[in-house]
Amino acid sequence: MEIYVNGEPRQVEDSLHISELVDMLDLGNRRIAIEVNLEIVPRSSYTIYKLQGGDKVEIVHAIGGGSVDGG
């Protein structure tokens, strides 16, 4: 199936769990937060949350920023 990760299309196995996606992307040891279709997915649900085709996944982390766009 195809999902979108941070805006980029990506082919993954059907019914992939979020925890598997995180491992695949080598983000397992990073401090991140994840939202699927604009809804937060709590870290405690990564192992049970199954992704579906067309899901829009956003994976974010903290970076330097101040009163202006820190990016």
Binding site: I59, G66, S67
Partner: protein, 274 residues
């Protein structure tokens, strides 16, 4: 002699005057700093340390996927056990983006509720869009967030934001990143006079004297990023800003002399022999 000492003691800065209390939490530094625009994380760490700040703003952005797995992490330079992180909605132009950013930050930081809300109006001025700022503040406060809100220097807006339940109101001194200093000291003073939540100048400070002026006006603190990170020697500017905020606060508490148009001699005229 005893009487003099007592007088001196009561006139010195009390503990209460020295601390900043935001939503019931006590901070000893009145300087809040951003972590953007530094050359690297080492400079971020050094400048943040030199500033003495306890509250440090961060931004929430997309993780790099598969590009740089070994990339250093901001939270290594700014450890959460040493600093109060203030996730910030910088770069958001809509209510939805600001609210999403805060919710992602709360998840990222394990339930952390203190956030800095800014909803911008346009790229040229980076002025706050006040209509959307009110809407986002309302949603966030209902959702349990403790909102420190970026606003224009309008005293009426500041009152509304306080009444809504924002835990601190942060008027701009001048446009973000402009370094133009305190452009409307009279409004800042009025905002301070009206407020019973902390008022912090956020944005527009260019150099140490600007930070002192903000504090002399009675502000409870100053938040800055570009003035430090964009200086030729950021770590030295961070140290200068720390002193400027402290000096401005002490001068405010000490009470400045009134301005007069003509001189008044500071040496006694009586007893002159010439």
């Amino acid at each position: 002699m005893v009487a003099t000492q007592t007088t001196l003691k009561t006139r010195s800065v009390s503990q209460e005057d020295n601390v900043l209390v935001i939503d019931g939490v006590t901070y000893h530094s009145r300087l809040l700093v951003g972590t953007g625009k530094y050359r690297d994380l080492d400079e971020t760490r050094q400048a943040t340390e030199a500033s003495g700040a306890e509250i440090v703003t961060i931004a929430i952005r997309r993780s790099n996927i598969g590009q740089n797995p070994g990339e250093p992490n901001l939270l290594d330079a700014i450890p959460t056990d040493r600093y109060t992180l203030l996730p910030n909605t910088a770069g958001c132009y809509t209510v939805q983006d600001a609210v999403r950013t805060c919710r992602l930050a709360r998840e990222l930081l394990d339930g952390h509720q203190l956030v800095k809300l800014e909803v911008l109006g346009d790229e040229k001025t980076l002025y706050p869009d006040m209509v959307q700022t009110y809407q986002a503040a309302e949603i966030l406060i209902k959702d349990g967030f403790k909102v420190m809100v970026y606003t224009n220097d309008d005293p009426i807006a500041a009152i509304h934001l306080e009444e809504m339940g924002c835990v601190a109101v942060m008027p701009l001194a001048a446009p973000i990143g402009s370094g133009l200093g305190i452009r409307n000291p009279y409004n800042i003073r009025t905002i301070v006079e009206n407020a019973s939540v902390p008022i912090l100048v956020d944005a527009g400070v260019g150099t140490a004297s600007d930070a002192s002026i903000a504090m002399e006006l009675g502000c409870d603190g100053v938040l800055m990023n570009t003035a430090i990170a964009g200086a030729k020697v950021p770590v030295l500017m961070a140290s200068a800003m720390k002193k400027a905020v402290e000096a401005g606060r002490e001068a405010y508490l000490a009470g400045r002399i009134p301005r007069k148009r003509y001189a008044s001699a500071s040496s006694p005229v009586d007893g002159t022999f010439f």
